[in-house]
């Protein structure tokens, strides 16, 4: 027992020596340590953000190495605040200069972020925000109303091509995540606002109980419920004409369940669209026999690029939280207001441009 304890102590001393040695050598070289954390790793979306971030890092390091880039996060099935905090604590101990994080829980993560700030670390959020007083800047991909508009516009444009419009109204069904998911609920609320306007009031959610699906974050349940919805697609007044996927899981699930359907609902009378990465929808968009013709997202790579640029400039003092704007490399100038930088409007992609995006 005593021996074991001794061994552990020795191990501990050795480990901490290594950590300190590592920290020491880095701070002397004068490079900035920028650490980025997604909500979870290993999904097209955050993988694309990482590619954009890496691109920005490579640009900054072109002539001499000025940035050390760290990237880590929880795995998808362990996407909890606690896992994020564990990694953050490690980064704070390592004395990184900038932390970029997409929090799973905006309030629970705040104490840890404040602790990082108190040690002189610049803290930025991207993709999802934290409590406003716990970060220096928020890189917002698009505002909720913009995302809702992208989805509704994409649906409406395709529906018009198939002969629908103010004189031929349609029934809408949506596949969301869980009722507790703040992002999806907010987008749904914005979508409902749009459907109440004269531009889009020919799109109707007839029965919110049965026409908004909440399969939760589970892939198999999402597939099953999307399958049920595909069975209800059709031109009839008691059927659904347009299905919208509100998550990056639901939109491709609708596409694949249409492919799997035994009798495919009339492709010239139905429309599927949703929020997902271009790669996840590419094969359905390109297939003329699948009514999923367009998808909606922001440029994930630009989001990663902008996040790194903002973090770097904030740490260098080129900008502060109260600056009016920043110039971010190839993306150009973006306004800063209320400590928030907005990337831009949502991106609608279809068969003409889907190949331009590799994420």
């Amino acid at each position: 027992m005593k021996k074991g304890l001794g061994a552990v102590l020795v191990l501990f001393v050795v480990c901490s020596a290594i950590v300190f040695a590592g920290g020491g050598s880095d701070s002397s070289s004068g490079t900035l340590k920028i650490a980025m954390m997604p909500k979870f790793k290993g999904e097209n979306y955050f993988d694309a953000v990482k590619i954009g971030a890496q691109e920005a890092v490579d640009e900054l390091n072109k002539s001499e190495k000025v940035v050390d880039f760290l990237y880590d996060g929880p795995s998808q099935d362990q996407a909890t605040n606690q896992k994020q905090v564990d990694i953050l604590e490690g980064w704070i101990a390592q004395k990184v200069n900038v932390i970029l994080v997409s929090p799973n829980d905006p309030t629970a993560i705040a104490p840890t972020l404040k602790k990082a700030q108190s040690r002189g670390i610049k803290v930025l959020t991207f993709d999802a925000d934290a409590q406003a007083d716990a970060r220096d800047l928020f890189i917002n991909q698009a505002v909720s109303s913009g995302i809702a508009l992208g989805l509704v516009k994409s649906a409406a444009d395709n529906l018009k091509l198939k002969g629908y419009g103010p004189s031929a109204p349609v029934n809408v069904a949506l596949v969301s995540s869980a009722k507790t998911d703040a992002n999806q609920q907010e987008w749904l609320a914005e979508i409902k606002k749009l459907l109440a306007t004269s531009d889009y009031n020919w799109l109707k959610i007839k029965n919110e109980d049965s026409d908004v699906y909440y399969p939760g974050p589970d892939e198999t349940a999402t597939q099953a419920q999307s399958g049920t919805l595909i069975g209800r697609l059709g031109p009839g007044a008691d059927q659904i004409q347009v299905a919208i996927g509100l998550t990056s899981m639901a939109a491709p699930a609708l596409g694949s369940q249409y492919e799997a359907a035994s009798v495919k609902p009339d492709v010239t009378k139905t429309v599927i669209t949703g929020l997902a990465t271009p790669n996840a929808l590419k094969s359905y968009i390109k297939s003329s026999s699948n009514p999923l013709d367009a998808g909606v997202l922001w440029s994930c790579m630009d989001l990663g690029y902008l996040a790194i640029q903002s973090g770097y400039q904030l740490a260098k003092g080129t900008i502060t939280g109260s600056s009016a704007s920043l110039t971010a490399g190839r993306i150009g100038q973006r306004d800063i207001s209320n400590k928030t930088i907005i990337l831009g409007p949502a991106l609608i992609f279809d068969k003409n441009n889907v190949d331009q995006y590799n994420y």
Partner: protein
């Protein structure tokens, strides 16, 4: 009185299912459209195939709560093969062998180390789900067309999904196997009284090992159907499904104490569970209700089965097994 007892649990459940279907035919016009029927049959197929395996395990008076996570592991494994353009002729056998091997781990803990099945499989459930994130970061995506062939293209007579054919074949084999094979007699004997079975010369450990291996292979088949439904496979494909399988078995009249229960009951049980969620949706009710309704049906079934057991005990105090064969 005698006739009433003779009316089996399977018959009650079959009638109940028929009742639901008739009501749905009357009240929800679109419900029996080909598409919805086939989509329900597809879900039915992966629930039933795994539930037949679970039934086998429960009959030996054991249980497996790791089945869902086991399926996740198998799904990811075959997805990795799918990335290399492997088709169903490779995916399905690999899934079955892998499922059988993983399930044997459970069986070894139970037979060699005498760990209660619920504890052993709870531990392996954690193990399976814990191993996944070490291998894959969340999900494998952009899987090729060859991977989704079973779901997208394999349609018998142009309409019936391939998964349904697989289910029919497996169900027929299971019905015959459980009725006529000597092995199934041993399973029922062990479930009724393992000690008595041992004394009659049955190698109890071996039978339990084989039962878990067969069940594991069936979980592998279900995993194949689940994984190939889309171009993305996540680390959580099977999460929670074990409860659906156990529910189908229990609803089908199999005693959780083991030793009594038929495959036909499991078929009806799985069918009821596959119909409820779409039915609730077609009736225009919030999906929040479907879990509650399923729970209520299961509790009702368990109470009925307990009352029947009580009645049987009073009628014949020495009823150990024989009747259930």
């Amino acid at each position: 009185m005698k006739q009433k007892i003779h009316f089996s649990a399977e018959a009650y459940l079959g009638l109940f299912l028929l009742g639901i279907l008739v009501l749905l035919a009357i009240f929800t016009p679109g419900f029996f459209a080909t598409n919805n029927v086939m989509s329900m049959l597809n879900r039915f197929s992966y629930i039933l195939i795994a539930a037949i395996g679970m039934n086998l395990i429960i009959l030996t008076s054991n249980i497996d709560v790791s089945a869902g996570n086991l399926i996740s592991v198998v799904c990811l494994t075959i997805a990795a093969l799918g990335k290399l353009n492997a088709g169903l002729p490779i995916l399905l056998p690999v899934a079955m062998v892998m499922g059988a091997l993983l399930s044997l781990i459970n069986a070894l803990f139970i037979t060699k180390f005498r760990i209660p099945a619920i504890v052993a499989t709870l531990a392996t459930a954690q193990l399976f789900s814990g191993v996944l994130p070490l291998i894959v970061e969340g999900s494998l995506y952009d899987l090729p067309r060859s991977f989704t062939w079973l779901a997208f293209e394999a349609k018998f007579l142009g309409v019936i999904p391939g998964s349904v054919l697989i289910m029919i074949v497996i169900t027929i084999i299971a019905l015959l196997f459980m009725k006529y094979s000597r092995f199934s007699k041993k399973i029922y004997a062990i479930g009724n009284n393992a000690e008595a079975a041992r004394l009659t010369g049955i190698n109890v450990n071996k039978v339990v090992l084989v039962a878990y291996a067969i069940a594991g292979a069936l979980f592998g088949v279900s995993a194949t159907i689940i994984a190939t439904a889309s171009q993305r496979v996540t680390t959580t494909m099977g999460t929670g499904l074990e409860m659906t399988f156990i529910a189908a078995v229990v609803l089908g009249g199999t005693s959780v104490a083991g030793g009594s229960g038929k495959v036909l009951g499991t078929v009806f049980g799985a069918a009821v569970l596959s119909v409820i969620a779409p039915a609730v949706n077609y009736l225009g009710i919030s999906s929040d209700w479907s879990d509650a309704i399923m729970g209520a049906i299961i509790i009702f079934a368990v109470i009925v089965s307990a009352l029947r057991l009580e009645g049987r005990k009073q009628a014949a105090p020495a009823a150990t097994g024989g009747a259930s064969l």
